[in-house]
Amino acid sequence: MFATLAYDLSHMTGAMVLLAGFAVLYQRRLLGVLRAFACQAVAVAVAAAWQAYSQEAPHLYVTAAIALLLKGIAAPVALDRIVRRLDIHRTVETAVGIGATMLAGVGLVVLAVLLVLPVTISSAALTRETLAVALSVVLIGFLIMITRRNAITQVVGFMSLENGLVLAAVGVKGMPLVVEMSVAFSLLIAFILFGIFFFRIRELFDTLDLQSIESFRGERR
């Protein structure tokens, strides 16, 4: 009885993370993106806490706490302030339309399932399925980074990609160094936020639109 409950709950939390990933994809407003991302981070925190409980691995609670505090609360609040303070365009600038990206997202989930399930036949069912969901989340994070041109949404895409990694790491039973890895990633994220805020990227780039960064392909004369 408990075994199936553990199984079902792990699935549910994983699915919540994936769903929140899609929610990030269809937002048209920047603040909406931040909110959807905060939901995803909270879902990851719940997933990690549930794995900590069901695997009896108390160190995973630390990972859950980091996900909740840093990515669920601190990062969205900080980005929210950046958006308001620096007066960035509130609408999401898309490189590809919303409908098309949603379809691409579905395609990526199918791809992840088709890739992971055949190669993990001998692993435990729970691990396989968590891994498939986690890879889907990682790929959707990529999709966000590629199709949304604004620097803020790129950062959100990166953090959501990282949520997928956390999901994978906590889903693999007995994986050591998970906490250390989430700390290392927190460092990276803190660094990005720090970079945006203190370097005042907006003032330097005029806009946070990454197309202006792309312009630096050629050489200056």
């Binding site: 190669v119 692993s123 891994l131 990682v138 050591p176 160094l177 990276l188 660094f191 630096f216």
Partner: protein
């Protein structure tokens, strides 16, 4: 006695100390001194008996070779940096406050690279590569100009994605090992992974390798994941360009080669060779063609680094004692040559006050020593005899022809393309009517001479013990 705690300890202690040194002259000296100390103790690894693998460290001939190379180039770059930085202070491009940070970060970078090379844990290695990425991002943005911030941001985003994919690959390796080794730290430890590799699940290992190759390949600047590299090289301080090109790219390749060995040890996994060869060849061709139209001298040689990483990747992808030998030799000689070139470029662009090729024209006329050093370095990097890179490229091509003639021809075409591009540019830089200097030339050429002498010796006469040592490493790489 184990030298490793000292090798990792010196840079770490120096980083802490340098964070408190506000005078940049003292800081530069401490930086060079600490790097020299690290290099000196790294030589102990060659003399002392190789220690048994511990939880933390895994030492074999492959990484001893890279540790010695890394600490040597880190030392000469720190030496060069002292003169370079003093000039930047005079021209006001940097302030003393920046430098305190720069020197501390330089040592953190050395520490991270040495840790990545010696760690016995694929998780620790991953974290060390991440740390190295972060420190170099900070250093690339040191000038705080718009292009340097743009370059740093681009490097940061692409590097982070690479790092994230490498972590996913690391998790998959752990999962592939789980059936054979059970849960726990053992399944992340190099020494036990190699012992148990034949029992891993091959399909999972294949998928893991693809993620690792893309992840660490981004850090190594392999095409099509190289977009960050030219910008990061061009916009950072020149000593950092030298360290990035000469050392950090090697560290990423080291990780790829180690995982390749893991796949080779497992008989059922896919052969990693063709993947590596495909990426290596595309790097060689794309970068070779890009060399033709560069106007910025540092970007020119950044593309040349991509090209050489491609050559090394092809060599390790071919595998076998001869190609591996060529790859190892090429790795070392590329590091030495490319850093020497960056030292000369740094001085030249300081004297002329620009990085534009057109305005650096006529270097041999205005500064004979500097100009001819650059000519020698460029001749060496484009694979002309009598320098060492001719040897390693010749070895690679001649070992490829009997095994895969088509590949040999492609390799030759790629190398000649790159050769042509560099020669064309070199003509414009070194010869012709000299442009006027904006500032007097300062700084020492001794590190450049030391590097050039080493690659010349390697090209003319490789000492027997070194050859047999490289041969034994090449055997291990499979």
């Amino acid at each position: 006695m184990n030298a490793l705690p000292l090798i990792l300890g010196f840079p770490l202690a120096a980083a802490v100390a340098l964070a408190f040194v506000s005078d940049h002259r003292i800081g530069a000296r401490v930086n060079a001194g600490a790097s020299l100390a690290t290099f000196t103790v790294s030589l102990l690894l060659l003399v002392l008996e190789t220690p048994e693998p511990t939880q933390i460290a895994f030492i074999d001939d492959f990484n001893i070779y890279l540790v010695v190379l890394t600490s040597f180039v880190a030392f000469t770059a720190a030496w060069f940096s002292a003169g370079y930085i003093a000039h930047e202070i005079e021209t006001g491009r940097l302030t003393p406050a920046h430098l305190r940070f720069y020197h501390a970060m330089y040592q953190v970078l050395s520490f991270a690279m040495l840790l990545a090379l010696t760690a016995n844990n694929i998780g620790v290695m991953w974290a060390a590569v991440e740390l190295a990425t972060l420190t170099t991002v900070v250093m690339v943005s040191l000038y705080r100009t718009r292009p340097s911030l743009e370059a740093a941001w681009k490097y940061f985003i692409l590097g982070s994605v690479g790092i994230a994919l490498a972590l996913f690959g690391t998790i998959l390796v752990y999962l592939a090992a789980q059936k054979a080794m059970g849960p726990g730290m053992e399944a992340l430890t190099w020494s036990s992974l190699f012992a148990e590799a034949p029992n891993f699940e091959p399909e999972l290992l294949n998928v893991a390798f693809v993620f690792l190759l893309i992840g660490y390949g981004t850090k190594a600047g392999l095409v099509p994941l190289h977009a960050w590299l030219p910008d990061a090289h061009a916009e950072g301080p020149t000593p950092i360009s030298a360290v990035l090109s000469g050392l950090l790219l090697n560290v990423a390749l080291y990780a790829i080669v180690r995982f390749k060995m893991l796949l080779a040890a497992n008989g059922d996994a896919l052969a990693p060779g063709p993947l590596l060869i495909a990426m290596g060849l595309s790097s060689l061709f794309v970068a070779g063609l890009m060399l033709y139209r560069r106007r910025d001298i540092k970007r020119l040689f950044a593309y040349s680094s991509i090209e050489h990483m491609g050559v090394i990747t092809v060599a390790f992808g071919m595998g076998g004692p001869l190609a591996n030998f060529a790859g190892l030799l090429h790795m070392a000689l590329h590091s030495l040559t490319k850093s020497a070139i960056f030292y000369t470029i740094g001085l030249a662009s300081q004297a002329r006050g620009t990085q534009q090729v057109e305005q650096i024209r006529g270097l041999t006329a205005s500064h004979p020593a500097l100009g001819w050093s650059l000519v020698a370095g460029t001749a060496a990097i484009s694979g002309l005899p009598p320098f060492g890179l001719f040897m390693s490229e010749f070895l690679l091509v001649s070992s490829t022809f009997p095994r895969a003639p088509v590949l040999g021809v492609l390799l030759l075409i790629g190398l000649l393309t790159a050769f042509g591009g560099l020669m064309l540019r070199l003509h414009g830089i070194a010869f012709g009517e000299a442009e006027r200097d904006r500032r007097p030339l300062v700084g020492s050429l001794i590190p450049v001479y030391a590097h050039l002498l080493l690659i010349l010796i390697a090209g003319v006469f490789l000492p027997g013990p070194l050859v047999s040592w490289f041969q034994s490493i090449a055997e291990v790489l499979g």
